[in-house]
């Protein structure tokens, strides 16, 4: 607070306004936000739409409020993980903040002990403001995804409640009077009806469905369909974790998902990356898109989309085993070797404060704090988006990846089964491939997880969503009467 005067003098009116805005929080927090003034933090981020839209402006504001500069390196996910792995593996002390998916590399980094235990920071009133309210204010699904190993210390603060949901074109559903799907049969029926080839050249102008069909990328969007069918990546047999991709239910799911892609998605789905899929949806080429919910920012961007005001998101329809929204959350963590852990913690706390998260939330970046969902200032892009995202954050689980130490190979194995499914559509072939890959996965567990209590996600962890909730997002947009 001492140098506050000089700072104000230096930066002028705009800062004054900002400080005035931040003042109530600063007072209530009772922590000295300018304690680490002049520090520079190095952070690696995985590319995502919200990095440019939200993280960059927030980093500027953070610097104004605390005097800490955050140098961001933003890289494509694979490259970011590579850089992060090398720096952590080499115990580099220049990396201060990492941004990771606990269900992907999280387990490996936790086992290796690369991440700082954050509990002492959280308990220290000089480092954490009194009203921070972790974990009370965090949504259940989010917290569930933050722990991947039994006895894992609190080594990450989960913030993003992004979920894999179903984007739908409300205008097409209305125009063709198609029932908005609440179960998997209705989904296929809707996909069929909305695959529209008006000029009859055999190449539909609008495809009914679109989702990831490319190799190792499929796990994230496929996971909900897998669990809704009653399948899963792993199960526990006699206290041992074994692969479950070759169970009847899992193979059902592979067949169902592959069938949707084969019949109702553009052939390009086999090879597209998610941004291409999102762009196709925004260009009005498909009626439904199974993808992360923050992509609505693209569909609703007037400069980039043709379907502004015509989309919403709903939960992926229920299957025989219920509804399991996939919640591939993102977390912040601090490497054990950083020399600026206190400043790094300050950044994490600052970014996850209620009023900062509210800004993200209001910009279609779903976050993990319960209170921001209830805040009056929160107006979701569509009512259905808001409801589906909230339900996903409450009931969702981190099923996006087959969580394991050998995560990369597990993803490849799952991708291979899907490859056979989308290319042949032959159940026997899929079962054979699933058996083969299950053996591969089991061998990997034997090899890499000896003596580890790697929790992963098991069906028992799921907090079952009541059936009545399924229709809530659809009702929110007033679409429940279609197709009657």
């Amino acid at each position: 607070m001492l140098n506050k005067k000089t700072t104000i003098a230096r930066t002028g009116l705009s800062l004054l306004i900002l400080l005035a805005l931040a003042a109530p929080v600063t007072l209530a927090a009772e922590i000295d936000w300018r304690k680490h003034e002049g520090t520079t933090l190095n952070a690696i981020f995985l590319t995502a739409a919200y990095i440019d839209a939200w993280f960059r402006p927030m980093a500027k504001r953070f610097q104004k409020e605390t005097g800490i500069r955050v140098k961001m390196v933003v890289l494509q996910a694979g490259q970011a993980r590579k850089k992060q792995d090398i720096m952590l593996g080499g115990k580099d002390d220049t990396l201060d903040v990492i941004h990771l998916q606990m269900d992907n590399r999280g387990g490996k980094l936790t086992v290796a002990g690369h991440l700082e235990d954050l509990q002492p920071y959280l308990d220290d009133p000089s480092k954490t403001p009194a009203g921070y309210n972790y974990p009370q204010d965090w949504l259940g699904g989010c917290l569930n995804t933050a722990k991947v190993i039994k006895g894992q210390p609190l080594n990450n603060i989960v913030w993003s409640a992004q979920a894999q949901l179903l984007h739908i074109r409300t205008d097409l559903f209305k125009k063709y009077n198609v029932k908005v799907p609440t179960n998997l049969q209705e989904l296929e029926a809707a996909a069929k009806k909305l695959t529209i080839d008006e000029d009859g050249d055999g190449k539909p102008e609008i495809y009914g469905f679109l989702s990831r069909g490319r190799d190792r990328l499929i796990t994230a969007s496929f996971a909900t369909y897998l669990w809704n069918h009653g399948g899963s990546w792993f199960k526990t047999v006699n206290g041992k974790k074994v692969s479950n991709v070759n169970s009847k239910e899992s193979v059902d799911a592979f067949m169902y998902y592959a069938n949707l892609i084969r019949k109702y998605a553009p052939p390009a789905a086999l090879n597209n990356r998610p941004p291409a899929n999102a762009a196709l949806f925004a260009a009005g080429k498909t009626a439904m898109l199974s993808e992360l919910n923050y992509w609505i920012a693209l569909s609703e961007d007037k400069r980039r989309s043709r379907v502004v005001g015509k989309t919403t998101t709903i939960l992926v329809p229920r299957g025989p085993a219920g509804s399991h929204p996939n919640l591939p959350t993102m977390s912040f963590a601090i490497p054990k070797y950083s020399r600026k852990k206190d400043a790094a913690w300050m950044y994490i706390v600052w970014m996850t404060q209620q009023h900062i998260m509210q800004l993200g939330q209001n910009n279609s970046v779903p976050v993990c704090r319960r209170s921001v969902w209830l805040d009056k200032s929160f107006t979701p892009p569509t009512p259905g988006w808001g409801e589906s995202a909230r339900l996903a954050a409450e009931y969702g689980i981190a099923i996006a990846k087959p969580q394991a130490i050998a995560i990369g190979q597990m993803r490849d194995a799952a991708g291979e089964v899907m490859n056979v499914a989308v290319r042949t559509g032959d159940r026997a072939a899929v079962q054979a491939e699933a058996d083969k890959q299950a053996a591969v996965m089991n061998a990997l567990i034997e090899k890499t997880e000896v003596g580890m209590n790697f929790r992963g996600v098991r069906p028992a962890d799921a907090k079952l969503m009541p059936e009545s909730e399924q229709i809530v997002p659809i009702k929110a947009d007033g679409l429940e009467r279609l197709g009657r």
Binding site: N42, L46, T47, A48, A49, D52, R56, K71, V73, V74, L75, Q76, A77, G78, Q79, K82, K83, I86, G89, G90, D92, T94, L217, R273, P274, P275, A276, A278, A279, L280, A282, A283, G284, K285, L298, R303, R304, S305, R306
Partner: protein
């Protein structure tokens, strides 16, 4: 009469040949150029037109460029790349010239092979060892470090291209200088150096291009302050998210500087290569 017809025939023949040459050139060069046109045109397309390959006319947008420039380090990294590639090229060229001279004149085949071997190393395997060496030497995240790392690209390439050029400079010219009383080193400076300039320009351009385009070394050995242009582009080559238009804008931005450089000196490049000849 016969002469006249022959004259007409010859003229017609020449026109025919000229037309054929240009048609052939366009047929050959056209598809190669098309990709670049497509890249640029896509970068000013609104995203929703991205999947309409038949739509060519629309109101161009500069939006993607402003987004890319605002939200990434691309401009800073292009400057970094210019610095790093220039130095790496210069050092590679000097080393290349000196070594190529001795290899050509003293027939040091083993050395030539040894240098070629360093070019064969798959550097993907070496990234982590490199990182470990760099960390201990304090070279991570520095211009010097990245320049040094790019030398493994530029030096071997420089040597191998320069050997051909040196071999083409007649030995007699040098020997004449020796007879005039110049020492070998002086003769090298006065005779060989000026004569190898076209070859050096050509080599420099090629070294620069290979250094400019290198991505892996800069990603691992660069850092939060010093990185290169390809690393900025890779932010947009993302399977998880990103905008197609921004991707194309970033690609156009990093391609532009090299194009400008090469357009200005392409004559020297081909002239240099053809005068010296790579053997």
């Amino acid at each position: 009469m016969v002469a006249l017809r022959r004259l007409i025939g010859r003229r017609a023949y020449r026109i025919g040949e000229l037309t054929f040459t240009h048609l052939a050139m366009i047929a050959v060069v056209g598809p190669f150029f098309f990709i670049f046109f497509y890249m640029f045109w896509s970068s000013v397309k609104p995203d929703y037109l991205f999947f309409e390959p038949g739509v060519w006319i629309f109101e161009p947008l500069l939006l993607n460029y402003t987004d890319v420039i605002e939200n990434s380090d691309i401009i800073r990294n292009i400057v970094n790349s210019l610095i790093i590639s220039s130095f790496a090229t210069a050092i590679g060229l000097i080393c290349g010239l000196l070594s190529a001279y001795t290899i050509a004149r003293f027939d040091l085949r083993r050395l030539a092979l040894g240098i070629l071997v360093t070019r064969m190393i798959p550097y993907i395997t070496m990234l982590v060892p490199f990182w470990i060496v760099y960390k201990n030497a304090g070279l991570l995240n520095t211009h010097l470090g990245l320049i040094l790392s790019h030398l493994v690209i530029t030096i071997p390439f420089g040597v191998w291209i320069m050997i051909g050029f040196i071999e083409d400079i007649p030995k007699e010219l040098e020997e004449a200088a020796w007879i005039d009383g110049a020492s070998r080193a002086v003769a090298f400076l006065r005779v060989v150096l000026p004569l190898s300039t076209p070859g050096m320009v050509a080599t420099a351009i090629l070294c620069f291009i290979f250094s400019w385009n290198n991505f892996q070394l800069a990603l691992v050995l660069g850092g939060f302050d010093v990185s290169t242009a390809p690393v900025s582009v890779f932010k947009y080559a993302d399977p998880e998210s990103g905008s197609m238009g921004q991707m194309m804008a970033a690609a156009t931005l990093v391609t532009l500087p090299v194009f400008v450089i090469v357009l200005f000196i392409q004559k020297q490049l081909t002239a240099g290569l053809t005068v010296g000849g790579i053997k």
